[in-house]
């Protein structure tokens, strides 16, 4: 094995040697070459869920990303360089996800990787990002980044994590919906965040979770689980994801009829689904968490309006080209905002190329807040560089008359929690 190591060192040193030579060439006296290099585009690898279970989201993530890049490039790009997006499909599969990140780092030679949504793909890809020292900006809303269980190259600066979202919902639920809460959630990690973080958050507000019903991920019908909902339930708190979610709502409607408890849900259930679909009438009058509102609101900022126009969604949150094509508005804004965070961090660090990856990581960690505006149309955010996670405001919307109207906006502080670790102590 020892000869292998020696060989391995030669391979590495050889590669490093090339890099150093390139650096020399790019030094003073070789201005022309240096200029040539700096006018090359910034390459951002977009890890997209084009196929697999995440494809509904993936499509809209891609549209938002393209819109943001168009806006950034129109305004002069990053550090004067244009931005180029390289898309690779990960099939919503963690194994393929890791390969895609490797491909970004070594084949496409991108500057950063970006855009992953599904948690298991993020977690599966994170080691590859860390080992290739490729900054990796995800738009996943999972708590995995903030848990500090990943590594120093993984960031989530564009969307608030689920733990924070849940915590921010608790005061409103306790004071407006009811004190006895039954949770229905998918029996996998996304559901576990809700399972684990809601009860303490509600407890702090004087309310209780009286039952937790976990639904297996392979399930396609739900009625048989409903009898487990205690009769004295005030609020059903539901977070279902995946294609079976319409069934879930419909069956809940058939089960309860008009005599139902309050309903509070995460819009994740209905992203890319028309709330006016047959069978969803039952949801009328219920409340939803939304990251960014799907329907245009009367008090929308100019930035929000501009963002919606740029991405190409109408007032109902559907594609301007096809009113039946509903967006994933509550999440996809994260792609837009993350790209602007990347831009900011690159500009702060004077980013030139892959050799500056460490500087870019430190510059991102040095960020503290993002003001509401064209770059952050969803609202202002606080960024915690130690846990690589941002915190923003959350919306609670009521479904009335076939549209979602925002009835409450939380404050950023509602969702703040004690950091669980510190990435900045890890070596770069």
């Amino acid at each position: 094995m020892s000869s292998f190591i020696r060989k391995s060192i030669t391979r590495r040193t050889a590669l490093k040697g090339f890099g150093a030579a390139a650096g020399l060439v790019a030094g003073p006296g070789f201005v022309r070459y240096s200029q040539a290099q700096s006018s090359e585009p910034i390459r951002i690898g977009f890890q997209a869920h084009r196929t697999g279970i995440g494809a509904s989201y993936g499509r809209w993530y891609e549209r938002t990303t393209n819109a943001a890049v168009k806006a950034i490039n129109a305004a002069g790009g990053i550090n004067g360089r244009q931005v180029e997006i390289i898309v690779e499909d990960d099939g919503t599969d963690p194994g393929r996800g890791a390969e895609v990140v490797g491909k970004f780092a070594n084949q496409h030679k991108v500057d950063v990787a970006f855009g992953t949504l599904f948690s298991h793909v993020v977690i599966g890809s994170a080691p590859a990002a860390g080992e290739n020292k490729l900054p990796y900006y995800v738009v996943s809303e999972g708590h995995h980044v903030a848990s500090t269980k990943l590594n120093r190259y993984v960031f989530q600066p564009g969307i608030t994590d689920v733990k924070s979202q849940i915590q921010a919902m608790a005061p409103w639920i306790a004071s407006n919906a009811g004190k006895k809460v039954t949770q229905i959630f998918p029996d996998f990690a996304f559901g576990y965040d809700h399972r684990d973080y809601l009860p303490p958050a509600l407890k702090a507000q004087g309310a209780d979770v009286i039952a937790q019903i976990a639904i297996p991920p392979t399930e396609s019908s739900f009625t048989k689980y409903f009898p487990q909902i205690p009769a004295d339930t005030d609020v059903i708190y539901h977070v279902m994801v995946g294609p079976a979610v319409l069934t879930f709502v419909k069956e809940l409607g058939e089960f309860y009829g008009s005599n139902r408890p309050q309903l509070f849900g995460f819009i994740d259930s209905l992203e890319a689904v028309d709330v006016n679909s047959p069978g969803l009438e039952f949801l009328e009058g219920s409340h939803f968490w939304e990251g960014s509102p799907r329907y245009a609101q009367p008090d929308d900022s100019d930035a929000q309006k501009a963002y919606r126009a740029a991405v190409g969604i109408d007032d109902n949150g559907a594609s301007v080209d096809d009113p039946k094509d509903i967006s994933t508005a509550a999440h996809m804004f994260g792609c837009w905002e993350t790209l602007y965070v990347i831009k900011k961090a690159m500009e702060d660090s004077g980013y030139q190329g892959r050799d500056d990856a460490a500087k870019l990581v430190e510059a991102t960690e040095a960020l503290t807040e993002f003001a509401e505006g064209p770059e952050h149309p969803q609202g202002p955010k606080i960024f915690n560089g130690k846990i690589h996670q941002c915190f923003g405001i959350q919306n609670i919307s009521k479904l009335e008359g076939g549209r979602l109207n925002v009835v409450h906006k939380t404050s950023i502080e509602d969702g703040m929690y004690e950091p669980e670790g510190d990435y900045t102590t890890q070596p770069l």
Binding site: T51, G52, I53, A55, S56, G58, R59, D187, I213, A214, I215, P216, T218, E219, S220, S221, T223, K224, Y225, F226, P227, Q228, A231, P243, A244, V245, L246, T247, K250, E251, E254, F255, Y256, G257, A272, V273, S277, P278, G279, I326
Partner: protein, 293 residues
């Protein structure tokens, strides 16, 4: 909820699952029994049936009942035609070799799935039920449409049983299943029987899909779980046994519902799967098959 009503609800749910499963598994069982072909793409025929049901109802618009009935006719016909095409272009040329057909139908699975993703999209889309009638029981409400699925499935199963046992077509199929070489020698056009059976199997899956789609939406990845369940039903029921298939579908469907009353859902799935596996281990010929060798 009290135990009694809870159990009733779980049983009803189980029956609906069984009804759809029986139809789908019957298709798989026919193909399996007559042609000795393990059709891995069977779940995709199911998915295709659901997607086409959406396409038909969306195109027709208007009264959901009319759209649904049209889908019930058109969707299986198209799926049957697709299956026929696949049979002629691929399976026939493979001489129905068991291993080769497994790979070929996996290929078919990928192709159908990708075409659905490209042309239909990644979203789950609903199809309106032909009628909406909520049956109010003292303890809970239940969908009238779901109950009608059980009835429709029963009728279709009886019709299939009739065709298989009382008609010439059924006789020809059974003869081919029993011994294809002898059947050929007696002038039965075995190749045409195979083509017909493969199309019929796919159509049964499509019918099952059209029935289920008003309660569970069409999605391009919806085929896998029913495929796995159908495999289990076919094996438990015993090869090519219609009665066995129906009973196994009931067993699997209802036990899935009822076990969920007693255990946490994922644990229930684990136990149900393990129980069925153990049945197979200790009675490998299925519940109704006779030992074959």
């Amino acid at each position: 909820m009290a135990f009694g009503p809870h159990l009733l609800l779980a049983t009803l749910e189980g029956l609906v699952t069984s009804a759809v499963l029986a139809l789908m598994a019957l298709g798989l069982s026919l193909v399996f029994g007559v042609m000795r072909v393990v059709n891995v793409a069977h779940g995709e025929f199911f998915m295709l049936g659901a997607v086409l049901a959406w396409a038909v109802t969306a195109t027709l618009g208007g009264n959901p009942a009319i759209g649904f009935l049209a889908a019930l006719v058109i969707s299986p016909l198209i799926v049957g035609a697709v299956a026929l095409l696949a049979e002629q272009l691929v399976l026939k040329r493979l001489n129905y070799n068991p291993e080769a057909t497994i790979v070929a139908t996996i290929g078919l699975l990928y192709i159908i799935q990708q075409l659905a993703l490209t042309f239909y999209g990644p979203d789950a889309r609903p199809v309106a039920a032909p009628f909406n009638y909520r049956i109010s029981l003292p303890w809970f409400g239940y969908s009238g449409y779901k109950l009608s699925i059980i009835g429709a499935s029963a009728i279709l199963l009886i019709a299939t049983w009739f065709v298989l046992t009382r008609t010439r077509i059924g006789l020809v199929m059974r003869a081919t299943q029993y011994d294809s070489e002898t059947a050929q020698a007696f002038g039965i056009p075995v190749e045409r029987v195979y083509a017909g059976v493969f199309a019929l199997g796919a159509m049964l899956a499509a019918v099952a899909a059209v029935l289920i789609v008003p309660i569970s939406q069409a999605h391009y990845l919806m085929g896998l779980d029913p495929l796995l369940l159908s495999f289990i039903v076919v094996i438990i029921g015993g090869l090519g046994s219609l009665r066995g298939t129906v009973v196994a579908a009931l067993l699997i469907g209802v036990s899935d519902g009822v076990i969920s009353v007693f255990f946490s859902p994922t644990l229930a799935k684990i136990i149900a799967t393990l129980v069925v596996a153990m049945v197979l281990v200790f009675r490998p010929q299925g519940l109704f098959g006779t030992a074959r060798r």
